[in-house]
């Protein structure tokens, strides 16, 4: 209790509070810009933390990253350009709702459920940090391979109505993920002698291209704009969000739990969490046919999960000094810089500091409400600007964003190539979401697969050799078998035409 009061005292320092507000606005602005990730927001803050007290330094990182993940939803909703990869899972639903005049509802929901997920993740962080981190520490290549494979199965659920086209899209995404130096031998694959491709296809420029370019092309080809639709008022937006909360509170809870768990696992980040939560919630939804066409349920599930993952990632980071993602990796670096050593002894040596960090987490998540309110106001303005003025500006913004990730024109090449591919795919009924999923998870799955194969000397059954891996593997195979079994079943009993139609078309 003494430590808690000391912690409150630390947080109440003017420096901490000013940092909290300043870093929130900063993270908000970065998250809104397509191509600039939450990681980049945090990285840009590092030089400024040199001049801060330890608590203010860590406050700035927590606040900026939480706000950037939330703010990434906003350009996704308004322009179909996810501001950060973590918002990509539900960008189609968000954009469809904006086209119906419900941009405010989307943003209010993003703010509310991001905050809920973030607070939930923080509470778990406070209560269960040591146990959860311990569990994740036991994982090896075997478990991570199955976890990634299970994540890939999500493609089936985000594939839309045409399973074969969805799987083709997934395969293309996985293929793109294999480009570059191979993990085991360093052999260059599919690089066509290009040095820029040795490191693989840069993900962020690809993401900007795949979501922004088709939208810009489509809007220019068929004038008729979002701006003409009357948007709901801020008041109605919050009211509808409240209704959505009452209706889908269990989705928010599931998303928060799942997000925290995925975030706590090294290698699992906010983006993976959002995908798994979105796909899982779709599977359990009573109205799966509405998904992808502007349904709030997926937005609730996804936005609670990605912010929960952000809090969850701090569990192994604080307790074992093992960063789960790039954001906490930078955070740990800043902690060391400030003379605070994360690790099992952290609560003995720097107890009040970490309780203060927990309080900051909760405050940072609560900041989403005023900033969300502000975002709805701004959104109404943005949507009122004529489309023909915005679209060309977006094109230039996309190019600059694609350049900014690696400070290299090759990013613009990737934007162009993947953007055109995505445009052609969508024109022909191939969903983009599975391809993005393949690009996110491809490397994780392959690296752990190869590592496991090498350590078992090529024995494929060895993948089931560890208890947790065996359970995860069993679940994965079951998930893969279900569509096949259903397909076989419908063949045997041709009277049941519906399940076959559901799978084939």
């Amino acid at each position: 209790m003494d430590k808690f009061i000391a912690a409150l005292d630390l947080v109440a320092q003017p420096e901490t509070l000013v940092t909290l507000v300043g870093a929130s606005f900063f993270g908000f602005a970065i998250g809104c810009l397509p191509g600039l990730t939450a990681t980049m927001a945090v990285a840009l803050l590092v030089p400024m933390t040199f001049f801060m007290s330890p608590i203010a330094a860590i406050t700035s990182i927590v606040a900026a990253s939480a706000m950037a993940i939330f703010a990434g939803d906003i350009p996704g909703a308004l322009l179909r350009m996810p501001g950060t990869p973590a918002s990509a899972a539900y960008v189609d639903d968000a954009y469809e709702m904006t086209k119906r005049g419900e941009a405010g509802v989307v943003i209010a929901s993003n703010a509310t459920f991001s905050a809920l997920g973030g607070v939930f993740g923080t509470i778990v962080l406070i209560l269960a940090a040591p146990t959860l981190a311990d569990f994740a520490l036991d994982f090896s290549a075997f478990e991570f391979f199955w976890l990634g494979a299970l994540g890939l199965s999500c493609a089936v659920f985000v594939a839309g109505s045409n399973l074969v086209k969805g799987l083709t899209s997934l395969m293309l995404g996985l293929l793109i993920a294999t480009v570059g130096m191979d993990y085991t031998t360093g052999h260059p694959r599919f690089t066509f002698g290009n040095v820029n491709l040795l490191e693989g296809v840069s993900f962020i420029p690809g993401l900007i291209g795949m979501f922004a370019l088709p939208e810009i092309l489509r809007s220019l080809l068929s004038p008729g704009s979002v701006g003409t639709v009357a948007q709901v008022t801020a008041r109605d937006a919050w009211r509808k969000t409240w209704d959505a909360g009452k209706r889908y509170w269990s989705r928010a809870l599931c998303g928060s739990v799942l997000g925290t768990l995925v975030g706590a696992l090294p290698g699992g980040g906010a983006d993976t969490a959002a995908w798994i939560s979105y796909a899982g919630a779709k599977k359990m939804s009573r109205e799966p046919e509405k998904w992808g066409k502007g349904h709030i349920e997926g937005i609730v599930a996804g936005s609670s999960a990605n912010n929960a993952a952000l809090s969850g990632a701090w569990i192994p980071a604080i307790v074992f000094a093992i960063p789960g993602d790039t954001i906490t990796a930078i955070g740990i670096g800043v902690l060391y810089l400030k003379g605070v050593n994360p690790g099992p002894t952290v609560f003995i040596n720097n107890g009040e500091l970490f309780y203060a960090v927990f309080i900051v987490f909760i405050l940072a998540n609560l900041m989403m409400f005023p900033l969300g309110w502000l975002a709805i106001r701004i959104a109404r303005l943005v949507l009122r600007v004529p489309r023909d003025l915005i679209l060309p500006a977006l094109l230039v913004l996309s190019v600059t964003g694609a350049y900014a990730i690696d400070n290299d024109l090759f990013g613009v090449w990737i934007l162009l190539a993947l953007g055109l591919t995505a445009y052609l795919m969508e024109e022909n009924g191939f969903p983009i979401a599975p391809m993005v999923l393949g690009m996110v998870l491809g490397k994780i799955v392959e690296q752990n697969f190869m590592q496991a194969l090498i350590s078992t000397n090529g024995n494929v059954l060895g993948l089931f050799g560890r208890p947790i891996a065996a359970v995860l593997g069993g679940i994965t195979l079951l998930v893969w078998a279900i569509p096949l079994l259903r397909w076989g079943w419908s063949r045997l009993r041709p009277a049941h035409a519906t399940p076959r139609a559901a799978i084939e078309d």
Binding site: M171, T178, R189, I216, R218, P392, N407, V412, E504
Partner: protein, 157 residues
């Protein structure tokens, strides 16, 4: 551009075969069956399977449309087609001229061209384009410290 599923299926199969062939040439790890080529080959097999199913299915359900190529959104829409071509031209200009001419100039020209083409008057086009260019340049170059190429303007910045 809309292509018949038959054509797409054939393309996917061909892509899968090409990937498979290329991956065969990758080295193996310690004379085992696995190596850098294993995972791409699994993916290639998946592509061939998906492509074959697409091909077979469309032949069964809609053989007439299987090999059609149709520019639905471009044909009879010269305005739209021209806009699309301008997007491509702008992207290629950034890729090939970005380092020498610089982002601000290409961006400005792109914006003015688009605004005039989309029916804005010259003063509006110039003003908005200048504002957007300046805002983006300030944001990325000065606030975010991204070394955006400025081309000949670098001397004045």
């Amino acid at each position: 551009m809309k292509f018949g599923d038959g054509l797409i299926g054939l393309f996917i199969v061909a892509l899968g075969v090409a990937v498979f062939g290329q991956a065969q040439g990758f080295p193996k790890v310690a004379d085992q069956f696995y190596g850098p080529g294993l995972f791409p080959q699994i993916i290639a097999a998946g592509l061939v399977l998906c492509g074959a199913i697409l091909f077979a299915r469309t032949l069964r359900t809609a053989p007439a449309a299987s090999f059609r190529v149709d520019a639905v959104s471009w044909r009879g829409n010269r305005r739209g087609a021209m806009s699309g071509a301008m997007v491509l031209a702008a992207l290629l200009a950034f890729v090939f001229l970005g380092d020498t001419v610089g982002f601000p100039i290409i961006g400005f020209v792109t914006l003015v061209a688009f605004y005039l083409w989309l029916g804005r008057r010259l003063p509006v086009a110039l003003l908005v384009a200048a504002g957007v260019t300046l805002a983006l340049d300030l944001l990325f170059r000065l606030v975010l410290h991204v070394p955006v190429p400025s081309g000949p303007l670098a001397a004045f910045w």
